[in-house]
Amino acid sequence: MDDSEISSGALTGNDRGIIANGLRLGGNLSFALLASGLFLRVEGHFVSNPRLGNILLNAGLVALLATPVYRILTTMWLYWQAGNRRFAIYCMISLIVVAASSAVGFLVRR
């Protein structure tokens, strides 16, 4: 059974490929940045560079945090393109909550 037969406005195999590729790219990029940052951060070897290591570690974390956000945006766009407004709105709600949560993080002082 093809996805399109399950319900109208559902994601196609190609749409799923787009989501999967985005997740793989984000996961691999963040893993590479974190691993190289960690390697540079370790003290006592000939290419040890804690400062650059910290920059790469933070870049890796930002890439990792951005991946699910990218996934929500892509899914929202794909549902919108498929004419499935209901699920596009669900994605938008999740995105708004994530944005609100981020705002809490940056605005609330502990």
Binding site: R16, L38, S102
Partner: protein, 272 residues
């Protein structure tokens, strides 16, 4: 940090990831107490490192789950509306919760996890495909058959999502420990699809917690990075090992570890 310290964290995260993926409970359930008990990491810092690892596990696992149609994207998108809301509330609660209380809550979660490991959720009888608002289908490689299902009791799932998001934000676990049993035993989702859908969702749920934790300064890159690397490698090893290990013995051994860890966490919380 020295090489030995990084190696220690990677090793702990590796075992957490391997055990978690073998039993489908996620790495955080072991990683957080292990960081607290073995490396004397502050509970909030351990929770923050774990929640970042949860995102990495979700991204890595979801790639094939989405392609193979095991993950039900529609169901995930619907439930994410409340898991993220629960995570937001959980993050706010976490600001007022002490480290000892986190340890105490973790003890309760570990006892519940031990129970679910020993008594896996029983599936409800299959419903006619027309009965559910959301349907799904995938080709099961094990039984070489197309599996079609209909999702029921969406309101219950939405409510459970809120609880799962809360637990995830407070304790740094994926939330699958709440969602998978509900999806399987109440919503008519087959176990394989429930695990995949939960894995797909937890990345988004976790990011609603991880960004504020990062902004608060609780995510320490030098701790979170080896956790991510270790958990990812462990999860891969666990998924290779799982079909080659006797499930019954594994469950008993794991439940014992969980109960002992619950005792250690309860002691840390001053309950004994």
């Amino acid at each position: 940090m020295s090489l030995v310290q990084f190696a220690e964290v990677i090793l702990i995260a590796f075992f957490a990831g391997a055990y978690g993926s073998m039993l489908g409970v996620g790495g955080g359930i072991i990683l957080v107490p292990a960081l607290i008990a073995l490396l004397q990491v502050e509970p909030r810092t351990a929770v923050a490192a774990s929640i970042v690892s949860v995102i990495a596990t979700s991204c890595a696992g979801a790639v094939s789950f989405v392609r193979e149609r095991y993950a039900n994207v529609e169901l995930a998108v619907l439930l994410e509306t409340t898991t993220t809301a629960g995570a937001l509330i959980g993050t706010l609660l976490a600001l007022r919760v002490s480290g000892d209380m986190v340890a105490g809550l973790f003890a309760v979660l570990l006892i519940y996890a031990a129970y679910t490991v020993l008594r896996p959720p029983a599936a409800i009888p299959a419903r006619p495909l027309e009965s559910g608002e959301i349907r799904g289908a995938y080709f099961d490689q094990k039984i070489k058959e197309e599996v079609s299902y209909s999702v029921v009791r969406l309101r219950l799932g939405i409510a459970a999502g809120f609880v799962a998001g809360n637990v995830s934000a407070l304790l740094g676990v994926g939330g699958g420990i709440v969602m998978v049993p509900v999806m399987v035993s109440r919503m008519g989702v087959p176990l394989r699809a429930a695990t995949a859908t939960s894995n797909f969702m937890i990345g988004v749920t976790a990011v609603a917690t991880a960004i504020p934790y990062y902004a608060f300064g609780d995510v320490i890159p030098a701790l979170a990075a080896p956790c991510v690397i270790g958990v990812l490698m462990g999860a891969r090893a666990g998924s290779w090992l799982a079909p080659r290990t006797k499930a019954a013995y594994l469950r008993i051994a794991f439940a014992t570890v969980l109960l002992y860890t619950a005792y250690a966490m309860a002691r840390r919380a001053g309950l004994f």
